[in-house]
Subunit: 585 residues, 2 copies
């Protein structure tokens, strides 16, 4: 095995093309094997094995600096830069992050998980270099799907004006997570069809020299192209055509399904283990499909994550005008929704908590100042969602609950969620955000409220005394468990409240509680600071009521699972009992 | 006067070209006269008188829908759509908003003040139209300066794929507020130089039909161009070349100075009234210039608002590599700063509170996860800043103080501000944001702390008893006044605290206060919810300390002056006295 000898990029410098090709084959097999055990970003990584080898062959990392966009395609880079043991590990776990991570290696410059940042980061590295008189190459490696993000354009636009060394590798596999969207995608297709010769070159219009590599999985073509631009004194784009999932036919044939894949059987491609069964994503999709059939003014907008709510390719096709994937473009998704609402449509934006962070101003300025009745569905705003520090969904409560005019709802079960969604679609007064529960799907046989127009009205689900638990959204079931534990320990029945609204408190209820309660405990699935519980603490701040806010500490956690986060943040029965013992007795 | 007969767009439909030209001249004179009295966005409005007349002549507003980007150039539109009285008013005030405002007219679709939103909003209006089977024209009117914003690209990219009626008018006056930046600007220049014939057409690459109007201040050319694209079934760009400040030589010759202008003498162009004198913008600039001369690794980055800290054209030129205006591109500015910091530079980003809203994710994901030591200077985060609902700076505390790893500082006077800035530039551990005070510049002769590395350490500036006032940032002087009033009224000395850090509380101090205080009052120049005071309220929520949070209610206010906001939100001596009477006695 050539790979046995490779512990840093310098170990590949002396290899022949044939040896590099053998190495690529070894790495591809290793990646397939490891991901069949541990899962991972299959398609993106198999597509760029050769390009990554060529980059490290031509450039001198870490003096020359490579920034991987999103960085979910950096597995080969990690293997070549001293971290191959993580990929050789046969256990179903990962010893390295799925993204670049400066804590792991001097070859990783940023912890990155969001798309479209690489060119701007590279512009910054380049300017840093120029300020100190350096000469190194700065390389941004970005997929075609990421180019639709506004930040990628901003980076290209500024980089194109700097007239300094800046090498942008456009890794074009004609895919985002799903098929890519936007006019630029169509233009890239023209470039591929003409082997880079199509007129009206987008990259040239932005000041870049441009070259095209027809086979971006051919090491010698790549080395030749990279050598040509090495040490260039002006900004260049090298457009390479790669195959997502290259080398594994099943993945090449179903590129969306194999963007990320759970552990699988290599022979058959079948996923190991159980399917997910009933979940909120599919449930909401089926509900929406029925509504959309009856009401052609309803329109689902997603910034490149249609599958986050189960809108697969067939369904998307069928929905026609009523479904629009705007590509990776969260800002646009929200602002466009404001426009749809203003012209009589009923827009529903579907994305993830961590990605809505890119649309803060669009939510505030475009949607909420204008009070446009759009619905924002928020997935993975939870400790049960993604765990990578770049993808954790702990911040949306603090981010969105303090924006005026927004009605931010936290359903506690499936029926309530659908009722809130239904209300939101039918009303014309408010921009509404709904935090989709993220733990396992819960049904209720109790009736749920249909009308949420009386804002900030909480629901008392168990009337008790002394202690009131305000258990928000998908922490509601935890609140019920805590209530049972309290009753068992102390012999009294605490009050349990489903707050329902994150954007404000139910002052009438809070006043009532003053009579026969002396402790309120708030539970929320997000950071405490700036969140829901602090609104209650502030409400009672001039009264004798004691308030304990439970939720997450304001910190970036990386790879920490839900159970551990609950423990770490005192979200346990034991801690609740202790709190009550300390404060009430 | 033709203008006498114009009360709605239909009144101009029957006019001849010559009459339209006379009307343009009348409107231009009216605008000049009114802005000489009341101030306003001078250059942008004088540049588009003809284009606006031509739009309303050709299209049928409000059935056809025109969305003005930023909408600071909508004065002629307002005059033509029933609001001319506001411009005829000789008093030095404005009876209409300086931006489009749906509350004023059915011809205004959105309250807009941020740039680069128009194409996405138009895409939404177009999709709303298509969902209900409408046929109207949707027009986005966007300046060349706004095209550098990522959202404008995202809108173009999605609009170019929709293959439906969508008309984008690019109003090219070769300026942002200052000179425009980015490679696209250089490309637009090529297009102008070739009368639209340059190769590698940016707009065509994104799926648009393209046409060019050499004289965008010539009504008949504009009418011809607009008529050609009216009812187009595909997306089109009409690129018109206009002159910023057209018709007023002084403004044409100094386009940056006359983007916005205070009341002035029409004969001389001289500003009426006093200059601003010493202010924080100039002070920080002079401080930075000295530091930058000594340390070539310091680099100022601004997203198109260099003058917000007094970096005029001469200074920008002189700073060379150490100054970069990235164009209107807040996201890029912050992400690029992360890159500069990572490669040994010391980046300082200069922008306004309301515009940092567009970089929430870049601050969180690119800067703070990576703990890049960049400095963000925040102007106008204050009731003393802009008052338009689209520009109020009330949200940055809630937005930024809850982001992990960020050190968010609130200086209370000039010396402290410069000390904080100096510390931030010299340290290598933290991303730092500094909220530049926004009331009149205050000096202190007391020594100020030089080292802010001990995070969240507040400063007790007056040691007292019973009541502690935590007066944040530019509300500090108000805190001192309140303290004096308390002493006069009640005869005891309250404690006064300068919190200094917004991102966390000084728990040691808060513990100490428990001994001899029973009321803490927090004062902050921003909304209370999600803000600094609520962190203190939450800290004391299980103790007997009473906490009153004063600041702003969570709402969008429009055109409300500081004095009125203070009154409305109980930030008065009388209210403080009442609070203490109620709670302490």
């Amino acid at each position: 095995m050539i790979l046995d000898r490779i512990n840093s990029p310098k170990d590949i410098k002396g290899l022949s093309i044939q040896e590099l090709e053998t190495l690529a084959s070894e790495i591809r097999n290793l990646l397939m094997h490891k991901m069949s055990i541990s899962g991972g970003h299959f398609g993106p990584n198999l597509g760029v094995v050769e390009a990554t080898i060529a980059l490290h062959y031509v450039f001198n990392s870490p003096v020359d600096k490579i920034v991987f966009d999103v960085s979910h395609q950096s597995y080969t880079h990690k293997i070549l830069t001293g971290r191959k043991d993580a990929y050789l590990n046969e256990e179903p776990k990962w010893d390295v992050s799925g993204f670049t991570q400066p804590r792991e290696s001097e070859h990783d410059f940023f912890s990155v998980g969001h798309t479209s940042t690489s060119i701007s980061l590279a512009c910054g590295l380049a300017r840093g270099r120029d300020l100190k008189g350096g000469k190194e190459n700065i390389i941004a490696f970005i997929g075609d799907g990421s180019l639709s993000g506004g930040l990628a354009f901003e980076g290209l636009n500024v980089g194109g004006e700097m007239r300094k060394n800046l090498i942008v590798i456009v890794n074009d596999n004609d895919m985002a997570i799903a098929e890519p969207h936007g006019a630029l995608t169509q233009y890239l297709r023209k470039l591929r069809d003409t082997k880079g010769e199509a007129s009206d070159n987008y990259f040239k219009s932005l000041g870049y020299q441009y070259s095209y590599v027809e086979d971006g999985n051919d090491i010698s073509s790549l080395i030749e192209a990279f050598n040509k631009v090495k040490n260039t004194p002006v900004p260049v784009v090298v457009h390479i055509r790669t195959v997502k999932g290259k080398g594994y036919t099943i993945a090449e044939d179903n590129r969306e399904g194999w963007h990320f894949h759970a552990p699988f059987d290599i022979e058959t491609g079948q996923k190991k283990g159980q399917g997910v069964g009933e979940n909120y994503g599919f449930t909401v999709r089926d509900f929406l499909l029925k509504k959309m059939e009856k009401d052609p003014s309803i329109c689902v907008i997603t910034p490149a994550v249609p599958m986050s709510c189960g809108f697969n390719a067939d369904i998307r096709q069928k929905l026609g005008n009523q479904f629009i994937d705007v590509g990776i473009a969260e800002e646009h998704a929200v602002t466009m929704a404001a426009g749809v609402a203003k012209n009589g449509g009923k827009p529903i934006v579907v994305s993830l908590s961590t990605f809505y962070q890119r649309a803060y101003d669009q939510i505030l300025h475009d949607l909420c100042i204008n009070k446009c009745p759009a619905t924002l569905l928020i997935r993975n705003g939870s400790i049960w969602g993604d765990t990578d520090e770049t993808h954790i969904g702990f911040f949306d409560i603090a981010m969105m609950s303090n924006i005026p005019n927004l009605v931010f709802l936290a359903p506690t079960n499936c029926e309530e969620y659908l009722a809130m969604l239904d209300w939101s679609i039918e009303q014309n007064e408010h921009p509404v955000a709904i935090r989709i529960p993220c733990n396992k799907l819960v049904h209720t046989d109790k009736p749920v409220e249909k009308d949420y127009s009386k804002l900030n009205k909480s629901s008392v689900t168990q009337k008790g005394e002394k202690v009131a638990l305000f258990a928000l959204g998908d922490f509601y079931q935890m609140g019920e468990e805590f209530a049972t534990a309290i009753e068992e320990e102390f012999g009294f029945t605490p009050t349990v409240v489903n707050p329902r609204y994150i954007t404000g408190v139910d002052s009438e209820l809070l006043e009532t509680l003053k009579k026969d309660h002396n402790l309120v405990i708030t539970l929320e699935d997000g950071i405490i600071e700036g969140g829901y519980g602090q609104k209650i603490a502030a409400y009672y701040s001039t009264f004798t009521m004691r308030v304990v806010n439970l939720g997450l500490k304001k910190e970036f956690t990386d790879g920490i699972k839900a159970a551990q986060l609950l423990e770490r943040n005192g979200l346990t029965k034991e801690n609740i009992i202790d709190i009550i013992k300390t404060i009430c007795f």
